[in-house]
Structure formats: structure tokens, C-alpha cells
């Protein structure tokens, strides 16, 4: 298996807070990796450092064999790394279709408008937005906006997809539909790195899980190993010795 993304000793400090502290991990092609941890563990910051929203103080990000550390976000997107945000960021005034066209146009393949429109339609259809293509993005429901966020990222035909809590705020039926969607995305050959709080989803989807706590990597392993790791349980629930 080839390594698609390799993160080495990332560090980021905001004022007096060490948000990310010496975090290293690798993502193999074709896998789903779960990134979990309590609130404030530095998960979203790690995403920001990977896709060029902010620059690490120290450390290196290598994607597809190329060093992309500190490159601007649009270059990284071009290289084939797409992201769905935790707080949805639709282009409100543009139609659902045009939102996806932007993704396809400026993504990895740098397509011309007509081809981009074709792909955008196809992806929007696949994510169940086919009947709302002409609506402005602002008219969608929360679940719809989450799907749009994902559709837009997928339209870029990425090699690696960063999913930042795409399940948060969805009701149980919507959650099940979204889990199915994520599985289908992986089956189509896209590698996924996902932040998620819903344990049922992370445990069933991930091949491997990385746990962050207070900016540092606490543990890494298969879902089973993580579920039984005493340090992980302590980070989430407090020290187990104190309970017994």
C-alpha cells in the first residue's frame, strides 16, 4: 500500500496555547482514517494545517510525494485534496449546481466549464441534490447544506477528502444516509480522513483511528484497540482509577 498523506511532527501555537504538539501520522491510499478526541484537542487545527488555511510553526506535510507545507489553500486543492467543513460554507447566492461547478472547475482536473457542469450534475445527483440544482444554496436545509458541502468537495475529483464532522447536526435517518454515502465514496477510490464525534459512525467506518488530546497524539490503532485503550477512556471520561 502506498502512503498518500504523511504528516511529520506538526506544531502550531496560538498565543499561549499549544494547539497542535508534535503530531505525526500517515494515511494510506484507499483507507478511511478517523481522527477523534475531546473538544479542543486540535483536530480542526490539524485539518487547517494540512489544507493550507494556516501554516504550521514546525513540521511537514507531504501529499502524494510532494511537500505541500505552507502552500496556499487553492494550490493544495488543485493538487487533489478537498475538504468539507464542519461549519458549512456554501456560496449562498449561487445555485446548488454552480456551487458544485466551482468545485469541479477549480479542483484537481482544472476542467473547462462545460465538462465541469457535467460532473457537477452527476455528483449532485449521486448525493441526492438532483432535484434542487437551480435553488440558491441558501435555500437548502441544514442536512442539504451538509450534502452540498460534500458534493462540492467530491466534484473536485480529489485523491484525499478531509471530512470535518459531516454528521454533526443530522437526525438519525440523515446520519444513516450520510454513513452510506461515505462508504460509497470510499468504494469509488477516494481516500478519507475524517473528524467525527459520533462513535457509532467512526467505529463502523474507519480502518484506523487516531486519537488527539490537548494537541498531542494519544493513541493510534484499529477501532477495537482504541475502544479498549485505557488512556483513551481516561481522556474522554476521566481517570478510570478514580471511578473504581
Amino acid at each position: 500500500m502506498t502512503v498518500l498523506l504523511e504528516v511529520t511532527r506538526l506544531n502550531k501555537r496560538f498565543g499561549g496555547v499549544q494547539a497542535v504538539n508534535d503530531v505525526s501520522f500517515a494515511v494510506d491510499e484507499g483507507q478511511i482514517i478517523g481522527l477523534i478526541g475531546p473538544n479542543g484537542a486540535g483536530k480542526s487545527t490539524v485539518f487547517n494545517l494540512i489544507n493550507g488555511i494556516s501554516e504550521p510553526d514546525l513540521g511537514q506535510v507531504v501529499f502524494g510525494g510532494r511537500d505541500i507545507t505552507g502552500r496556499p489553500a487553492y494550490r493544495i486543492a488543485r493538487a487533489g485534496l478537498a475538504r468539507a467543513h464542519q461549519i458549512v460554507q456554501p456560496l449562498h447566492g449561487l445555485s446548488v449546481l454552480d456551487n458544485c461547478v466551482v468545485g469541479a472547475c477549480f479542483g484537481r482536473e482544472n476542467l473547462a466549464l462545460p465538462q465541469a457542469q457535467e460532473i457537477a450534475r452527476e455528483v449532485a445527483d449521486r448525493l441526492g441534490l438532483g432535484d434542487r440544482l437551480e435553488l440558491p444554496a441558501s435555500a437548502l436545509t441544514t442536512a442539504g447544506k451538509k450534502r452540498l458541502e460534500l458534493a462540492r468537495a467530491l466534484a473536485a475529483r480529489p485523491r484525499l477528502l478531509l471530512l470535518d464532522e459531516v454528521l454533526a447536526g443530522l437526525n438519525p435517518t440523515e446520519t444513516d444516509r450520510m454513513i452510506e454515502t461515505v462508504q460509497r465514496i470510499r468504494a469509488s477510490g477516494v481516500t478519507i480522513l475524517m473528524i467525527e464525534h459520533i462513535m457509532r459512525a467512526v467505529m463502523s467506518l474507519s480502518d484506523r483511528i487516531i486519537v488527539l488530546n490537548l494537541g498531542s497524539k494519544l493513541a493510534e490503532g484499529s477501532p477495537q484497540q482504541i475502544a479498549n485503550d485505557p488512556t483513551v477512556i481516561a481522556a474522554y471520561l476521566g481517570d478510570s482509577k478514580l471511578i473504581h
Binding site: N51, I53, P72, A73, Y74, A77, R78, A82, R83, H85, Q89, P90, L91, H92, G93, L94, D98, V101, V102, G103, C105, F106, G107, A112, L113, A116, R152, A156
Partner: protein
């Protein structure tokens, strides 16, 4: 480009522009021509400003600097180098556009109000620079002598030629605004206007696109600045870099509907009609500025989409034909 002509809109505006060009010419109505040339100049200013405000979401308060600089370059070439007005105004457009690209790469790192302030600063700085620049006549500016109109067959004929050239620039403004809106470049700009950070994450090369938009929006205003000041025969710093005209251009864009193709042109035309009406009474000297202020406030508060935004919301089908 081929795709663009398949829709009705380019044909509609071409016909309107032809009417603009022909009616005063056929009726030989000089007064009508003088009123329409001002409307045409305003349309060029508003339509190009719309590329920044309406598409990319950047309020360029100092947009008049392109117009003024274009006028200065053009009159200098006509006066000192004896160039004909067409080559001089086109050359001015290219120079100002290139300068805008350089400036744009710098000041477009700023966002929101900071960008708007920086553009006012650019306009003020260039005005000061020109005021102290002796080869361009300093504070008194550049005057053209009558023989500058010789190559066009004397002043009377030159005014007609300039009028037709300005109408051609107006048509070019609207066509390019339309072509840009329907292009990949335009989609990128619209994405930037909606949410710049999200656009960058989606792969839109934001610094380059913004600077290009700034540069493109400088070209035709500079060309028309050259033609306009050639027509008046005199240019001086306070007239060329008038901040109030800059703000009036913003009112035109907002009045007609920012982000639409036809809106800014409509806004510019209506604004010029209103201004002309008010000017007929001497008591109302510059009274249009008071109305402009009130208009801007009303639009921003109650009809943020402007006239065309309102029409497209009410009758969505019209947007398919007009944009």
C-alpha cells in the same frame, strides 16, 4: 465567445448600442449627443466597476483613478507626441490596466473596509503626484490646441467620431461583462464575492483572479477617460480624479443592481437623466449628490439587489433572457 452569441442578450444590447449611436447622428441633434455621451461614459464606469463590486465583492471607492489616468496619458500622447486619439486612448488603456495589475496584487491583500480605504488612498496619492508632475502641466493640467482635432477633420467632425468611439466602448463593456459572467473566470470571481475563504479551499486562485479583475475593470474606463478628455480638450487634476464621481459610480451600480450585467448600465443611464434634470435649475448645482446619498442609503437598506435584482426576483424568467 461563440457560445455567448447564441443567447439573446448580446443581440439586444448591440441593437440598443446602435440606436444610441445612430439617433443623434441621423437627427443631427448635438444636444442629445452631449447628453448621451455622458450617459455612455457613466455606463462604462459603472459596468466595469460592477466587475469588482458585483462579481468579486470588492468595493473600489477610488475607481475614478482609472478614468483620470487614462485621460492624462491620452492627452499627453496627443499633445506631445501628436498621436491620433484612437491609438492614444487604447495605449492609455493598456498602460493603466498594467498599472492596475501591479497595484491590485498589492492592495487586494486587504479585505472589506480596508480595501475600500486603500483605493481612496491610491486615488488621492495619484492626484497629488499628478498635481506636482510638471510634464503633465502640474496643477493647471493639459490643454489641447485646436489643431489637435485636425486629423479627425476639424473639431466639429471630431466630436462625432469621439461620440461613436465612446458608444463602441460602452458596447464592449457590456459584452465583456456578459462574457466574463458566463466564463470560468467569472464563476471564480462570483465565488470569491460570496465567500473568499471557501473559494480558496475549493481551488479558486484568489490573489490572481482578484488582481486580474481589478486590471480588466481598469481598461475601458481608462480608454473612455482618454476619449472624454480629448473631447473636452482640457484635463486638470481635480476634474480627473474627482472622488465624488467615483462615489456616484457606486450609486449607479447599486441603483441598477450589482452583480447583474444590465443593471449597472440601467442605473448609470437613469442617474445621468436625473442629474441632467436637476442641473437645469441653477439653484440645484450639485444637488444630485444629495439625492445620490439618499438613494444609496435607501437601496442598501431596502432593495440591496437594486432595480434588476428586484425584477429578477419578481419575474425569474426575465433573467434567462437578460442576465
Amino acid at each position: 465567445m461563440k457560445l455567448v452569441w447564441r443567447r439573446p442578450f448580446p443581440w439586444i444590447i448591440t441593437v440598443v448600442a446602435l440606436a444610441f449611436a445612430l439617433v443623434p447622428y441621423v437627427t443631427n441633434d448635438v444636444q442629445l449627443r452631449e447628453s448621451l455621451i455622458l450617459a455612455a461614459v457613466y455606463i462604462v464606469l459603472a459596468s466595469n466597476l460592477n466587475l469588482m463590486i458585483g462579481y468579486a465583492g470588492y468595493v473600489n471607492f477610488g475607481n475614478i483613478v482609472f478614468f483620470g489616468l487614462g485621460g492624462y496619458f491620452c492627452l499627453f500622447m496627443v499633445n506631445a507626441w501628436r498621436w491620433n486619439v484612437l491609438s492614444a486612448s487604447l495605449a492609455s488603456g493598456v498602460i493603466v490596466s498594467a498599472l492596475a495589475l501591479l497595484f491590485g496584487l498589492g492592495i487586494l491583500r486587504l479585505r472589506g473596509a480596508f480595501f475600500a480605504l486603500a483605493t481612496i488612498g491610491v486615488n488621492a496619492a495619484i492626484q497629488q503626484l499628478v498635481t506636482n508632475f510638471e510634464p503633465w502641466g502640474g496643477a493647471t493640467g493639459i490643454y489641447l490646441s485646436l489643431d489637435a482635432y485636425g486629423p479627425l477633420g476639424g473639431p466639429r467632425q471630431a466630436l462625432w467620431t469621439v461620440y461613436l468611439l465612446v458608444v463602441a466602448a460602452t458596447l464592449a463593456s457590456l459584452l465583456s461583462s456578459y462574457a466574463i459572467k458566463r466564463s470560468k473566470f467569472g464563476l471564480g470571481l462570483l465565488a470569491i464575492g460570496q465567500n473568499e475563504s471557501a473559494a480558496a479551499v475549493l481551488g479558486v486562485p484568489t490573489p490572481l483572479y482578484k488582481a486580474l479583475a481589478y486590471s480588466v475593470s481598469a481598461f475601458l474606463p481608462a480608454v473612455v477617460g482618454g476619449l472624454y478628455f480629448y473631447k473636452t480638450g482640457i484635463i486638470e487634476p481635480s476634474g480627473a480624479f474627482s472622488l465624488s464621481l467615483s462615489i456616484e459610480a457606486i450609486v449607479m451600480v447599486m441603483l441598477g443592481g450589482q452583480g447583474t450585467v444590465i443593471g449597472p448600465a440601467l442605473g448609470a443611464f437613469l442617474y445621468e437623466e436625473m442629474r441632467r434634470f436637476l442641473l437645469t435649475a441653477a439653484a440645484f448645482s450639485n444637488f444630485q449628490l444629495v439625492i445620490a446619498g439618499a438613494l444609496l442609503l435607501t437601496i442598501v437598506l431596502f432593495v440591496p439587489g437594486g432595480l434588476m435584482g428586484f425584477v429578477y426576483r419578481r419575474w425569474p424568467r426575465t433573467q434567462k433572457a437578460l442576465e
